[in-house]
């Protein structure tokens, strides 16, 4: 039996973290959350998530930097960039930084679909 997918949430808004956790927890293991980009790599290394749901607008402005770090240091770890800004340039920068997917923060289905897609690729 396959183990449940481990998800780490990186968002500085605790209410968003709680709601996303509720949703994903129905099918996956939410192993933790982090509220800044600087702490993401360490959390990822410690918690070994399969997927990181990363808010693009973390308060310290280090979302993409952290994305790049994780994708470089932990290449097997999938990162879903989570943003309300669907500007193609922003999306492009996210993919450049190593994001596996880019989903609209205002569509729950989009996040679930993205997670499922990555789960299916495992």
């Amino acid at each position: 039996m396959r183990s449940r997918l481990r998800v780490l949430i990186a968002d500085d808004n605790p209410r968003v973290v709680r709601s996303v956790s509720r949703l994903l927890a129905l099918d996956y293991d939410v192993v933790g959350s982090v509220n800044n980009g600087c702490g993401l790599l360490r959390a990822a290394e410690e918690l070994h998530p399969d997927i990181i749901v990363l808010d693009l607008s973390l308060r310290d402005g280090e979302s993409l930097g952290a994305c790049r770090q994780v994708s470089e240091r932990l290449p097997g770890m999938k990162i879903i960039v989570f943003s309300a800004d669907d500007n193609p340039e922003v999306m492009a920068r996210a993919y450049d930084a190593g994001a596996s997917d880019f989903v609209d923060k205002l569509f729950a289905d989009a996040l679930l679909s993205a997670v499922r897609r990555l789960d299916g690729k495992r």
Partner: protein
């Protein structure tokens, strides 16, 4: 017209009279002699007076004539007056007077004109015409035409009057129709004696209606006693006086005053100089007009015109004139005075008495009203200007806020994204739980609570921005400036984060309460912070800091926004708040102007300065309000 003095002087008085007369006219003779000797062009007039001074009518006539003659003659005129009536000569014989006059002119040229004033003098002159310069022009003046029954010669002319007292009785009966007796005051002198038969003839037509009581046989005290006890329906006619039955001479004014004071009946007179002294009025002879006409004739004769060509028709009475005071005194209604009458001495009405004052007051009032109107107009204009200014400030502020919010769209979107994202994920989670029948009530409750709270948060964010977008008129109330600062920073949090600007708040622990409009003051703070954020864009990341402080003073609240940016150019120091002055490549440069307008509208000040260590600080001072802020 007046007293007649044609009785002969007693012989024994002859020499003393001569000396008196000589002295009396000395001055005039000296002048005449000097001018005559030098054959001066100064004209000489010999004026023969009927009465010495004291007869009001003749005195008045002489005075007006003398002035009129000088005005008309156009050259120097000497007038030598000699009183030929008995009052002036202590009843001297008339021949002595003639001799005296002839002696006066014995070594001199005869007078250029001889004038008589009053009836007695006219009789005298006619009687002695052959002895007194028969070739020289002679003017008979100021006399009733009945003194001139004999025809005038070529060298003579006259300016008589028609003194019909019957007309005066008509006037009396018009205003006092019940009059039954008329007490006649004419004195006991020559005029009275001369005129009485004339007047009696004039009164004949009233025989059945009015009886006339003559006083020429009474002394003045007797007259005064009589007039005080006249029977009902009586009136008094004052014609002249001169002297009473005892030969006592009394000036007209004294007699008239006495009559007026004592009489129990109204007094009337037909001569204008008596008017105003206590007579009721009626048609009067205008003595002023007579004197002026006489002066005109005299001057023309002096200028060479022959007297025969200057004959004048007798002067008749003028329009009736009444004394309002006497009408009132005797209860005579004004309705009885003839149409066209002039009523004088009416107590001035408010307008006539205070015309000057009223006009001055009205003028002052009008001026004051105009001034007030002007001030009100200016005040209204100022108020309009203030309203316009406020409106313009409001419009500019509205525009500026919309521009600001437009620039913060990304920030707004991000802010809204948070609660919305939480809502959609919570809702999705709950739906999946319900579908899988894995929705315990507690969890369901928690999720629904979270959703509601996120919705409230979203609504607050929307409201905050909508408030900034809405057109806004200034609306002051007690608010805590610290709250305004915190809300402003919240609004700009995303913007600052994106620009990697670190904001530090050093707010007073004491509420900074001011009487202010939270929306407009937030706009000021947001403007200043956004300016700082923009300025900090030139600085390396890590050196982009904004410190917002607030302090409470005894009377003021001070807020400062200090950045670590490059500061503004020195040349802009004096123009920081000038519209359209900006260092930005984008923007109109009206943010600070609007901020200043808003601060001023709150009675505060705003100033900008460069920091010694770099960057700029904007300081706002607002009047502190003691009110406690209860709102959030």
């Amino acid at each position: 017209m007046s007293g007649c003095w044609d009785t002969l002087l007693p012989r024994r008085a002859h020499r003393s009279m001569y000396r008196t007369l000589q002295s009396a006219v000395l001055a005039g003779l000296l002048i005449g002699a000097a001018t005559s000797d030098a054959q001066s062009p100064v004209k000489q007039v010999l004026m023969l007076q009927s009465l010495d001074r004291g007869n009001l009518t003749l005195d008045h006539f002489t005075s007006i004539f003398r002035v009129g003659l000088d005005q008309r003659a156009g050259k120097a005129v000497n007038v030598v007056q000699v009183v030929v009536g008995q009052m002036g000569f202590i009843a001297a014989p008339q021949q002595d007077i003639v001799d005296y006059i002839r002696a006066m002119y014995s070594n001199r040229a005869p007078p250029d004109l001889i004038m008589t004033v009053g009836g007695p003098a006219a009789i005298f002159a006619r009687k002695y015409r052959q002895q007194l310069f028969p070739q020289e022009p002679l003017v008979f003046a100021a006399l009733d035409q009945r003194y001139l029954r004999a025809p005038l010669s070529e060298t003579e002319t006259a300016l008589p009057v028609i003194n019909d007292l019957g007309l005066l009785v008509d006037d009396i009966l018009r205003v006092l129709p019940d009059t039954r007796q008329i007490f006649m005051v004419t004195g006991s002198g020559a005029v009275g004696r001369f005129m009485r038969p004339e007047h009696e003839a004039e009164f004949a037509r009233f025989r059945d209606r009015v009886s006339f009581i003559w006083s020429d046989q009474l002394t003045l005290p007797e007259i005064m006693q009589r007039v005080a006890n006249l029977p009902a329906h009586s009136a008094i006619i004052y014609q002249t006086f001169g002297s009473d039955a005892q030969g006592g001479a009394y000036p007209s004014e004294q007699v008239i005053d006495g009559l007026h004071a004592r009489a129990n009946a109204p007094m009337f007179s037909a001569q204008s100089p008596h008017f105003g002294l206590g007579v009721v009025g009626g048609s009067t002879l205008n003595i002023d007009d007579l004197a002026r006409r006489t002066a005109d004739v005299a001057s023309r004769i002096l200028n060479g015109e022959p007297p025969a060509g200057l004959r004048m028709p007798p002067q008749v009475r003028g329009a009736p004139i009444y004394d309002w005071r006497e009408l009132r005194r005797w209860g005579i209604p004004e309705s009885r005075v003839p149409p066209g009458s002039i009523v004088q001495f009416r107590p001035p009405g408010f307008w006539s008495e205070y015309k000057g004052t009223a006009l001055t007051a009205a003028g002052a009032l009008i001026l004051q009203s105009l001034l007030i109107a002007l001030l009100l107009y200016e005040r209204r204009g100022r108020q309009r200007a203030e309203i316009e200014s406020k409106r313009h400030l409001s419009l500019a502020a509205d525009s500026n806020r919309r521009q600001m919010i437009s620039a913060l769209t990304t920030s707004i979107a991000h802010e809204l994204t948070q609660p919305l994202s939480a809502i959609v994920h919570n809702a999705e989670a709950l739906q999946r739980m319900v579908v899988a029948s894995q929705a315990p009530p507690e969890t369901t409750g928690e999720i629904l609570t979270d959703i509601k709270e996120e919705a409230v948060l979203a609504r607050q964010i929307i409201e905050r921005h909508r408030m900034m977008l809405r057109s806004h008129e200034i609306n002051k109330k007690p608010i805590d400036l610290n709250t305004v600062i915190e809300n402003s920073v919240t609004l700009l949090a995303y913007d600052m984060r994106q620009n990697k600007v670190e904001a530090r708040l050093e707010l007073s622990s004491t509420p900074c309460v001011v009487q202010g409009d939270p929306v407009l003051l937030q706009q000021v703070v947001v403007n200043l912070v956004r300016n700082a954020v923009d300025a900090l864009g030139e600085m390396p990341v890590g050196r982009r800091g904004i410190t917002i402080r607030s302090e409470v003073g005894s009377n003021d609240v001070e807020m400062s926004i200090c950045d670590t940016g490059p500061g503004f150019p020195s040349e802009m120091s004096g123009a920081l708040f000038t519209p359209f002055v900006t260092t930005k490549s984008e923007g109109l440069g009206i943010g600070l102007t609007i901020a200043q307008g808003i601060v001023k509208a709150h009675g505060g000040t705003i100033a900008g300065s460069k920091n010694d260590e770099g960057g700029a600080t904007f300081t706002i001072t607002l009047p502190r309000t003691a009110a406690i802020v209860t709102e959030n």
